[in-house]
Subunit: 199 residues, 2 copies
DNA sequence: TCAGGCAAACTCACTGGTTAGTATACATAG
DNA sequence: CTATGTATACTAACCAGTGAGTTTGCCTGA
C-alpha cells in the first residue's frame, strides 16, 4: 500500500479507524497514543491536532460505534423469520455467530465501561450509557408495536440477557451462553404475546 | 501507625489486601506495582519476592475473591424467606443494595476479564472463568434439590441475568437493573416450580 | 493571472514523569 | 551460618502531551 493510497481518506478518519481497531482489540489503557498514530500513518502531533486528548479520542471511538452497532441489531431483528419472539431470539443467535470469530472481544461499550469504572465522569461513559439506552428504547418500541403489556420491563429484561451474554461469553469464551440467553429472551417475549392474545 | 502495628499481618497478606482494594477500585492496568507496594507498606522488591510478576499478583487477587464472593451469594440465598424463586430473587435484591454504595465498581471478575480480553491465556482469565462456573454449578445444585426440570439451563439463565445486571449497573449506575433482573429470574424459577407441581 | 498571505494540517524532536522488573546489600531468626 | 525477608537505588523502556517549525491548499487583490 502506497502513501497516496493511505491518504485517500482524511487523517481524522484514519485516526478513528485505527483507534477503533486498537482500542477494541487491545483495550483502552493497553493502547498508547503513539500506537494509534502509527497505525493511522501520521505523527502523534497530528493526532493531537485533531483530538485534544486521549480521553477525547476514546469518546470519539465509542461515538463512531454507536450507529453502526444499533443498525446491526436492527438488521438482525428485521431480517429474521417468525414473530417478535423469534426476531428477538435471532439477535442472540447472530450474536453467538459473531462471538465465534477469533477476533471477537465482547462489547466495546461494556469493556470500556469496565475499564473506566474508576472515572464515572469520563465522556466515554456517558456515550456508552446513552448507546445502551438507545437499544433498550428501540426494543421497547418494537414491543409497543406488538401491543405487548409493559414493553419497558420486557425490553429491560432482554438487554439484561444481552449484556449478560456479552459478559459471560467473554469470560468463558463460549458462544453457547448467547444461545441460552436467546432461548430465555424468546420465551419471555412469547409469554407476553400469549398473554396479549388471551386478553 | 508504627512499623510493628503494620507487621501484625504478614507482608504477603498485606500485599493481597492492598491489591484487592486498588485493583478493584481503579482497575488492573491503571494500578502500578509501586502503588500496590506503597499501599501495603513495603517496597516493590519485597512484593517481587512474594509474587513473580504483576500478572501473578493479579491472578492471586482474583483467587482471593473467589471463596468470599461465592459465600456471600450463598448466604444471601439461604437467609432469604420464601421458596427457591424468592431466594433467587433475594440475591439480585442484595446485589442492588450493594451496587448503591458509592465505592461499588461492578464485578471484579467481569471487569478483569474485560480489561484482559486481549490476553486469553492470562492466568487471571482462567480463575475468573472457574469462579463464574462454580456459581453456575452451585445454582444448578439448588434447582436439582428442588427437582426442577433442566436445572443446568435454568442456572445458566440466572447467571446470564446476574452478569447482565453487573454490566448494565456499571454502565448506567442504576441499581434498578438488578431489581428487574431479579423479577425476571424469579419468574423463570417460579415457572419451572409450577411445571414441576403440575407434573 | 499570479503574487502574497494566511490558516489548516502536518512533522521532528523533545520533556518530565511512570512503568515493570532487577542488582546489590543488609538484617534477622533458627 | 544459612534461609528468609527487607531496603536502597537503579535500568531501560514507555507514557501522554508539547515546542518550534514546515508544508499545503485556498483566498484575495491588483
Amino acid at each position: 500500500m502506497t502513501v497516496n493510497a493511505k491518504k485517500a481518506k482524511p487523517a481524522r478518519e484514519r485516526i478513528i479507524d485505527a483507534a477503533n481497531k486498537l482500542f477494541y482489540q487491545e483495550g483502552i489503557r493497553a493502547v498508547s497514543v503513539d500506537a494509534v498514530a502509527e497505525k493511522a500513518g501520521i505523527t502523534k502531533k497530528t493526532l493531537y491536532y485533531h483530538f485534544k486528548s486521549k480521553d477525547d479520542l476514546v469518546a470519539e471511538y465509542l461515538s463512531s460505534r454507536d450507529q453502526p452497532n444499533l443498525k446491526l441489531f436492527e438488521t438482525w431483528f428485521e431480517s429474521a423469520e417468525g414473530d417478535t419472539a423469534d426476531k428477538v431470539e435471532a439477535i442472540f443467535l447472530e450474536l453467538a455467530k459473531s462471538a465465534r470469530h477469533p477476533k471477537w472481544k465482547g462489547c466495546g461499550f461494556l469493556r470500556t465501561a469496565a475499564e473506566l469504572a474508576n472515572l464515572p465522569g469520563h465522556p466515554a461513559m456517558k456515550i456508552g450509557s446513552e448507546h445502551k439506552k438507545k437499544f433498550e428504547d428501540w426494543l421497547a418500541k418494537q414491543f409497543i408495536k406488538n401491543q405487548l403489556d409493559d414493553p419497558a420491563a420486557i425490553a429491560r429484561q432482554i438487554v439484561l440477557l444481552m449484556d449478560g451474554a456479552f459478559s459471560t461469553m467473554l469470560v468463558h469464551r463460549d458462544a453457547a451462553y448467547a444461545e441460552e440467553a436467546g432461548r430465555a429472551a424468546k420465551s419471555i417475549v412469547r409469554a407476553h404475546i400469549d398473554a396479549e392474545i388471551q386478553h
